[in-house]
Each structure stands twice: as structure tokens, then as C-alpha cells.
């Protein structure tokens, strides 16, 4: 096994274990912390895929931005969470079944669709290539996303604003 393989399986196991903790943890803050670490594991996987720009963006946006926001909202809405509260609803079995079936189907599709593709074609340097694509081929979607972000920002502010008395 090469270092890359060792690292891949370690990171994969780490990420999956923490993802399980996210959905199963009793305590929501612990779940959020597990989410943060699983994002870090995913960033490591991106590095293994030579996607260093996205790895950095992953850490910056997901860990430094989104999960911090999540934690902030958790601190605002729930005090030190009580133990023994039911965290899953009654659809456990059904949704578990759905998820398992989905994973099996996807796995089958993957096995069938991408038979042991292991060679990596050469790839241009990440950051400039992405920048160029965003500014040329994908300029329109890029602008659409910026408008989406603007709309999201306005909406979030409107929703979270306190009603004027």
C-alpha cells in the first residue's frame, strides 16, 4: 500500500465515523463538533484528489463559516442540552431502510458504471484553472450564484430580524 492509499482509507474511516456521530449523537453540540471534524476529513480527501483549492475553501467556508453559524444558532436556541432527550423521530426504521437501499443502489451503479478507473490524467494547476473557468465558461452561473447569495442574505436578515414592537 502506498502512503496515498493508507491516508485515503484512514481519512475515509474517520469521515464516515464522524458522519455517523453527526446523525446519531445525543447531544447536538457534539454532533456539530463531529460535523466540523468530518468536514476536515473531507478536506483531507480533497487534498488526496489534488483539489487543494477546494480543500482550503472547504475549511474556510464549511468549517469557518457554516458550522460556526450552526453552533451560534445552537447556542442561541438551546441551553446546555439535557441528556436522555429523544433525538430521532418515529421514522427511524423506515428512513434507515430508505438510506440503506439508496446506498446499495448507488453502490451497484458505481460498480457497474466506473469499473476500476484508477489512472489519473494530468491536471492543470487548480486555482488559476478554476478562476479562469468561473470567469469564462461559467460566468453566467457564477453571476446567478452571486444573486442567489444576495437574495439569501436579504432573506436571512428579514427572517431573523426581530419584529419591531
Amino acid at each position: 500500500m502506498t502512503a496515498a492509499q493508507v491516508l485515503f482509507y484512514l481519512l475515509a474511516a474517520f469521515t464516515v465515523a464522524l458522519a455517523l456521530m453527526v446523525v446519531l449523537a445525543q447531544n447536538i453540540v457534539r454532533a456539530a463538533v463531529a460535523l466540523i471534524f468530518s468536514f476536515c476529513g473531507l478536506a483531507g480527501l480533497y487534498l488526496l484528489l489534488d483539489a487543494e483549492f477546494l480543500a482550503a475553501v472547504q475549511v474556510l467556508i464549511y468549517v469557518g463559516g457554516i458550522t460556526i453559524l450552526l453552533l451560534f444558532a445552537i447556542l442561541l436556541t438551546s441551553r446546555i442540552a439535557g441528556k436522555g432527550v429523544r433525538v430521532l423521530n418515529e421514522q427511524k426504521l423506515l428512513s434507515g431502510l430508505v438510506a440503506v437501499v439508496l446506498v446499495v443502489l448507488l453502490g451497484a451503479a458505481v460498480r457497474r458504471g466506473f469499473p476500476a478507473l484508477a489512472a489519473r490524467p494530468p491536471q492543470p494547476e487548480n486555482t488559476p484553472a478554476i478562476g479562469e473557468l468561473l470567469m469564462t465558461t461559467y460566468a453566467l452561473p457564477f453571476e446567478a450564484v452571486s444573486i442567489l447569495l444576495l437574495v439569501g442574505m436579504v432573506g436571512a436578515i428579514y427572517l431573523a430580524r426581530k419584529e419591531p414592537r
Binding site: 464516515v16 456539530a32 460535523l35 483539489a51 457554516i66 450552526l70 421514522q91 446506498v103 484508477a118 439569501g152
Partner: protein, 102 residues
């Protein structure tokens, strides 16, 4: 070398876990977290495909960037909704919030 299918399987597994969480968790913020997990599973697949498929020209990366941007917007709005729910219902457990209008 790690074959592409392993990355895709990992993505599928994470997506399944996220789906299970989104369907079963009671806490609204937990559901958001499970959603983020699913986004990330998709991102992983995008990037893996982009890396392995010949002639992919980084499109997967660009889509991942878009997904991250959308996820950020989703998180902000979702959290604002959660705060609104909390203000109105004094709870964030979605199965207790069963009124269309208050």
C-alpha cells in the same frame, strides 16, 4: 492508487448517512447539519469524477464551488428560519411544529 469507485462509494455512504439523519433527526439544526453532510458527499463525488475522468477539465471543481456557495446560502436562510421557529414555537423539534399557521 485508489480507484475512482472507492471515492464514489464513500460519497454514496456519506450521502446515505446524511439522508438518514435528515429524515430522522428531530432538532431542526440537526437536520440542517445532515443536509450539509449530503452536500459534501455530492461534492466529493464531483471532485473525484473530475480528477479521474479524462477530459473533465476541472468542471467538477467549478460545480463544487457552486455547491458550496449554495450550501452557504442554504445554511444562512435555514438558520434564520430555525431562529424564527424558535421565537414563535419555543421549540426547534420539527415534529412538534405541526401547525401551518399560528
Amino acid at each position: 492508487m485508489v480507484p475512482l469507485s472507492h471515492y464514489l462509494l464513500l460519497g454514496a455512504l456519506l450521502f446515505g448517512i446524511g439522508l438518514f439523519g435528515a429524515l430522522t433527526r428531530r432538532h431542526a439544526i440537526s437536520i440542517l447539519m445532515a443536509l450539509e453532510l449530503m452536500f459534501n458527499a455530492v461534492n466529493l463525488s464531483f471532485i473525484a469524477l473530475s480528477r479521474y475522468l479524462p477530459g473533465s477539465h476541472m468542471q467538477g471543481h467549478v460545480f463544487a464551488v457552486f455547491v458550496i456557495a449554495v450550501a452557504a446560502a442554504e445554511a444562512a436562510i435555514g438558520l434564520a428560519i430555525v431562529l424564527g421557529l424558535y421565537r414563535n414555537f419555543k421549540t426547534v423539534n420539527v415534529d412538534e411544529i405541526n401547525l401551518m399557521k399560528w
